[in-house]
């Protein structure tokens, strides 16, 4: 006789099997290629990868872009989530639609729309020159800044929604209690609302960082070959260079970063949760 809880656990088997066959197995095979040398197992591809100055530049750029994207998204998302948590009725619907609808619009459409905005004779440059901020056109397209702005735009909902859901569930009498105890709105925010919403901030940041570090389409469209990221390097290794060990190695590095982010954020969320 199997315990009832164990039988319920059996329900997870199809999902796990699906993940194992479609995701885990090919991934392991791929990663195995990165340590498969001509004479047995080797770490030489890793050593080569990290020694290469170009790869180092790409690795740091990828981390920097992901981090700045996360920060930018957080700064924009928090006030939005805060306003949404207070919104009622039609306004909440408006916020939600405004947030979720662009997700259904493919990244490619967005990227071409940005190019209209960012190019040298685009809207932003014409406006800046018209108001006399600059003399000539400023290069915006194909820069890291454009990439960060574009990525933060695409991933914004993944930052807003977790923060929103935490703020929404926040017991409304907590900020009220703070006020009645003499706390100014700023003191109340920094000592009550913000600390209590940190689990949402951690979750949103983990989502956004994971998405940003592995993004491929957005940098391909916005910065192209000029400023490569790890994902583009992987694609290039497999598609153009036909260097499977290199592609596998970079994939492993990316995976390691992703696993670290997931573990760190769950640990952080757990720690924050334990205090509450």
């Amino acid at each position: 006789m199997i315990a009832r809880s164990n039988r319920i656990a059996l329900l997870a088997v199809p999902g796990l099997a699906f993940l194992a066959i479609i995701y885990a197995l090919p991934l392991v095979m791929l990663l195995f290629k990165s340590i498969q040398g001509a004479e047995g197992l080797t770490l030489v591809t890793y050593i080569d990868f990290f020694r290469d100055e170009f790869n180092q530049t790409v690795l740091w750029r990828t981390l920097r872009v992901a981090l700045l994207t996360t920060l930018l998204a957080l700064v924009i998302a928090y006030p939005t989530a805060f306003a949404m948590a207070r919104a009622k009725g039609i306004w909440l619907t408006v916020f939600m639609v405004a947030l979720v609808l662009p997700m259904s619009l493919g990244v490619i459409v967005k990227a071409f729309a940005w190019s209209i905005l960012f190019r040298s004779n685009g809207f932003l440059n014409t406006t800046l020159q018209a108001i006399g901020m600059t003399d000539g056109p400023v290069r915006m397209l194909f820069t890291e800044t454009a990439l960060i702005v574009g990525a933060a735009n695409v991933f914004l909902p993944f930052m807003v929604l977790p923060i929103y859901s935490v703020l929404r569930q926040l017991n409304s009498s907590l900020p009220e209690a703070a006020s009645s105890l003499g706390a100014t709105p700023w003191f109340r925010f920094t000592r009550v609302t913000l600390p209590l919403s940190l689990p949402g901030v951690v979750a949103g940041s983990a989502f956004t960082f994971s998405l940003a570090i592995s993004m491929y389409v957005i940098p391909s469209l916005i910065v192209g070959e000029r400023q490569q990221t790890l994902s583009m390097l992987i694609a290039r290794s497999f598609l153009y260079l036909r260097n499977e060990p290199l592609g596998s190695t970079i994939s492993a590095v990316l995976l390691a970063i992703a696993i670290f982010v997931v573990l760190f954020s769950s640990w952080l969320a757990g720690r924050l949760g334990a205090r509450q």
Binding site: S173, L174, E176, S179, L181, G182, R191, V192, L196
Partner: protein, 364 residues
């Protein structure tokens, strides 16, 4: 002349003065021209059913809700336009609203820290406040580890440590079980008295209101029906609503058929009832009587009524007889101690003194 004399009363009698407060939500008037006055050191309850406006009034006083019109004067200072954090009014919330990310001591320190006191300066007052509610040994615990009664004590300590000008308590006992509730009521009342705190309780429980307060404002549909001390409220309810809401009573409707020397005779569908009243013949009225004023051995000059005994409840400290009239009205007769000799189904005559009849004019 009298109006002027009222104006010159010592300010202590109108320590808190709510003048003409009104509030509407989306076009629905929940409170209109509310006037409410509390003396310094007084313990007052706002009593009424849910939706009567008691919580709205509490929130307006606290500054958590803005009144559409009207003024809130506290200790001679008009606080109407001040935000909650500048009013120095502490609130104990129904669910206590303790900060879940802070320890017991940090919760109590919150108000002092918000007032700019340093971490080391708050230690002594926090320890004192926790000792006051006998929670000093729990200082470093997370609040999630506390029981309901302990949480309430911490909430009270947190509210009192800042020396508020006024303490508001929103259904502070409703989350506690019955036994604990009574203990906490006694404890809290003694604490507030000893510190001379002016406090307003919001409650829907009339026993709680009578237990903790000097005066009770009975609220109904956004108005105060009667604002009086518990004994007046019970013995001389100003309206059928107050009579109904405060204490048990039996009600009969009818109309005055005779008026003689201040005694009105009311005809009801189960017989005549006399009451001390100047109401004139023909007035539609409601008469009632408190269960403990009914006697199973009436004298001839009393109001009398025939009932059939429906149930006998022996509660230890009292025995409650349930009687039903021929008109299906339920009467309760409360007798002190344990009584025997009453059998269900027997028809008996009960009675009560004419002076004990509660009488109110009602819309026909």
């Amino acid at each position: 002349m009298f109006a002027q004399a009222t104006e010159q009363r010592p300010p202590a009698h109108r320590y808190l003065d709510v003048v003409g407060a009104a509030k509407s939500f989306k076009g629905t008037v929940v409170m209109d021209n509310m006037n409410f006055r509390v003396a310094k050191g007084e313990l007052v309850s706002l009593l009424g059913p849910s939706g009567c406006g008691k919580t709205t009034l509490l929130r307006i006083i606290a500054g958590l809700l803005e009144a559409d019109t009207g003024d809130i004067i506290l200790g001679g200072r008009n606080v109407s336009s001040l935000p909650a954090h500048k009013r120095n009014i502490s609130v104990v919330f129904q669910n206590y609203a303790l900060f879940p990310h802070l320890t017991v001591a940090e919760n109590v320190a919150f108000g002092l820290r918000a007032r700019g006191m340093s971490k080391s300066d708050v230690k002594a007052p926090v320890a004192e406040a926790l000792a006051l509610v006998r929670m000093d040994t729990f200082a470093d615990r997370p609040v999630s580890a506390l029981s309901g009664g302990q949480q309430q004590r911490v909430a009270v300590a947190r509210a009192l440590v800042v020396s508020p000008d006024l303490l508001l308590l929103d259904e502070p006992f409703s989350a506690l079980d019955r036994k604990l509730r009574e203990t906490m009521q006694i404890e809290l009342k003694a604490l507030l008295r000893s510190r001379g705190i002016t406090a307003i309780f919001v409650t829907h429980d009339q026993e709680e209101a009578m237990g903790v307060s000097d005066r009770i404002a009975v609220m109904n549909s956004g108005r105060i029906e009667q604002f009086a001390d518990p004994s007046t409220l019970y013995a001389q309810p100003a309206s059928p609503f107050v009579m109904d809401f405060v204490g048990l009573s039996t009600r009969l409707t009818g109309h005055v058929i005779a008026q003689a020397d201040g005694i009105a005779t009311v005809k009801t569908h189960v017989g005549k009832v006399r009451a001390n009243s100047q109401l004139v013949v023909g007035t539609p009225v409601q008469v009632g009587v408190r269960p403990e004023l009914i006697t199973p051995d009436p004298s001839t000059e009393m109001n009398q009524i025939k009932v059939q005994l429906d149930d006998v409840m022996t509660l230890g400290s009292k025995t409650v007889l349930h009687g039903v009239t021929t008109g299906a009205d339920k009467f309760l007769c409360e007798l002190p101690g344990i009584r025997t000799g009453y059998a269900r189904g027997e028809t008996v005559t009960w009675g009560w003194a004419v002076a004990d009849t509660l009488i109110h004019e009602v819309p026909a």
